[in-house]
Symmetry: C2
Subunit: 392 residues, 2 copies
């Protein structure tokens, strides 16, 4: 086990009706709130009105900024920063999924920052203050409700990059699984892959002696494998949504990666797809992850065999680890199929003409020498291209 | 799953040499620290000198109060509160195990409190401020390094009671497994039981649909079953201590009990043993827990069968759940034997003459009507007496 530093201060209020507490939770702490959200779904569902009522009852003044899109845009973040400064906002309330929360966090980080905002994301600058952020979650997927980072897309340069800082952890996040009943099935499927990926990016490690986090990763993955199909059958299954959403928050708060080297190549390879083709993050991950696994599994055969046995339930001996590992990957593939997920880049509408360009951008985030991606296997641009090519 | 409120703000710094960071972590935050500890072990090991050096290097003024005993005493807490007020202490640094940390937290709670301090513990009063507490852990067992509570013994009235409040969560806790190498084997065994009990008190629940927390409880228990015997064989096994200590912090920070009714009868029954006979908490738990299990398992046969299958590795069908459950308990018993733990009250030096008195105190914490203990099965004093009697 490696030395580690665990910090998960976000308070989670979980359960039926919990969004009605938002006003009382902010009372006495926030004077002027930015209510940040996406499109019309929270208005159609009535959530928007309930949140406004809760804020008004608590006597909290607020201004608002809607219009966050999937793969949230830098331009709206800049607009949010200017708005918050102009209106004297002292707290941001994100009502939405990962895109809204990430947009809110980026605004929070930029509020006190005087440099070029994009550089924070691109070069990983530093901040010493941020506006406090709270969340009412509408999609369990990104884990941003408990994580310390924000991923923003620069639509001009077609770059998508994360910025992480302890100050970006939400003060509190409200998770009511009833709010997920009206999601389309594809959002369930994409969210499921994103949550699983947050766990697997940490699970597939070169580090030894990681029993605690191995076991938690495996049990959460098994919980997802059981419950996501139950939701697919009945989109109003409260208990199954509860399990998935609880997994979503824990998957990305940092706990599961403590004491172990992490990978993150799949996420970085996917960010190129989203930046260039605006595909859903979960859809891109569903395509790339199994191809990445087949490309790298021999780097650490035992952890892939362990995944097959302990997560995917492949029985029998472990004397032929290669077959065991491959059967584990095949079963993950089958699970993704069952969830109705895309299998190839073609399914995402991505042709072969920009693969090399994306592969090179993936490992050349900033100018200068190449920065290979991945903690399990160091992936150079040629490796990334090989995965993209296999996934065509 | 029940609605829940999760809050685990304690930062954990884990790994070799991490205690040397204590000064830099407190610099700029603490002006006058109370260094709180137990007996001479931290002086003999050199830890005391290293901590003092780290504080001095960071230019932090401190005063000190040693002498914390196992089952930490109310009288020393009162002395600590007076000392902190007199010396203008603004931060408490607990260097020790659960007793030292609990003593520190109780002092922290009492610093701003004007009522009778014991009433906080006895009647669960409320506070609106507390001194910040930080920890350098020397025994993984009590989980107080990440929990929100403090258990104190009133040596005059022979009562042992906990007080819990979010303000009692440590700001940061430092866990260096190397500090555990010099512990005696019985401390390992007692700590192992205490950690397992913190998990099992949450695991044995009447609540359904608790996949996330079931799975995490099971994986942590299995991690302990694997690693505690490895330490017993080699008290300087860093990796195995790391697994046990990580489990210890997670076992009692609240996460594993989210969304489920909890039990806690075994802990409350044990507190009477500790209060009346000053036995080690872990030793008392090792004796009582299997007898409690046999007394209550029919209340929720499926969760005890699940424990047998998923934690204790009992194979075969689940059509005879009763046998499955009993085999699970028998294997836990066998594990405790392997760890060299006591099996009966007689082994603890406890005779039969005060069992009824303890049983009645257990369910009559304060005057007035009886308050049965236990979330799985409501235990009246006669039930508690039945467990004590079986354990003789």
């Amino acid at each position: 086990m490696l030395n580690f530093d665990l910090y998960t201060p976000t308070r989670i209020l979980f359960g039926r009706g919990s969004e009605t507490k938002v006003g009382s939770l902010l009372a006495g702490r926030a004077k002027k709130v930015l209510l940040h959200y996406g499109g019309g779904s929270i208005k159609r569902s009535g959530l928007y009105d309930r949140i406004k009522a809760s804020l008004s009852e608590a006597g909290i003044d607020f201004t608002e900024l809607g219009g966050v899109q999937p793969n949230p845009r830098l331009s709206l973040v800049r607009e949010g920063i200017a708005l918050c400064r102009r209106e004297g906002v002292d707290w941001i309330l994100a009502v939405g999924g990962g895109s809204v929360i990430d947009s809110a966090k980026s605004i929070a980080a930029g509020f006190y920052y005087n440099g070029d905002h994009w550089k924070l994301h691109l070069e990983g600058g530093t901040i010493d203050a941020a506006l406090p952020v709270s969340v009412v979650l509408t999609i369990p997927a990104a884990g941003s409700e408990m994580s310390d980072n924000s991923v923003i897309t620069n639509e001009e340069t077609k770059q998508k990059h994360g910025f992480a800082h302890p100050l970006l952890r939400a003060v509190f996040s409200i998770i009511n699984p009833e709010l997920f009943f009206s999601l389309p099935k594809e959002q369930l499927a994409y969210g499921t892959v994103d949550i699983m990926s947050h766990i697997m990016e940490r699970y597939f490690t070169p580090t030894a002696n990681t029993d605690v986090t191995d076991g938690m990763c495996e049990s959460l993955l098994k919980t997802i494998l059981k419950n996501a199909p139950l939701i697919l059958e009945d989109m109003e299954n409260y208990d199954a949504w509860s399990e998935l959403a609880f997994c979503g928050a824990l998957a990305h708060n940092g706990l599961l990666g403590m004491g172990r080297a992490q990978d993150w190549a799949s996420h970085k390879m996917e960010h190129e797809l989203s930046a260039h083709y605006d595909v859903a993050h979960g859809a891109g991950l569903a395509v790339l992850t199994p191809f990445w696994m087949r490309y790298v599994y021999k780097e650490n055969l035992p952890i892939f065999a362990q995944f097959a046995a302990n997560v995917m339930g492949v029985g029998g001996g472990i004397r032929d680890m290669d077959s065991l590992a491959r059967e584990g990957i095949a079963r993950l593939d089958a699970f993704f199929t069952r969830m109705g997920l895309p299998k190839t880049l073609r399914d995402l509408g991505i042709g072969g003409d920009r693969l090399e360009e994306m592969a090179k951008k993936c490992t050349h985030r900033v100018s200068g020498p190449e920065q290979p991606v991945g903690g399990l296997k160091k992936m150079h641009w040629q490796d990334v291209l090989a995965v993209y090519s296999a996934a065509q």
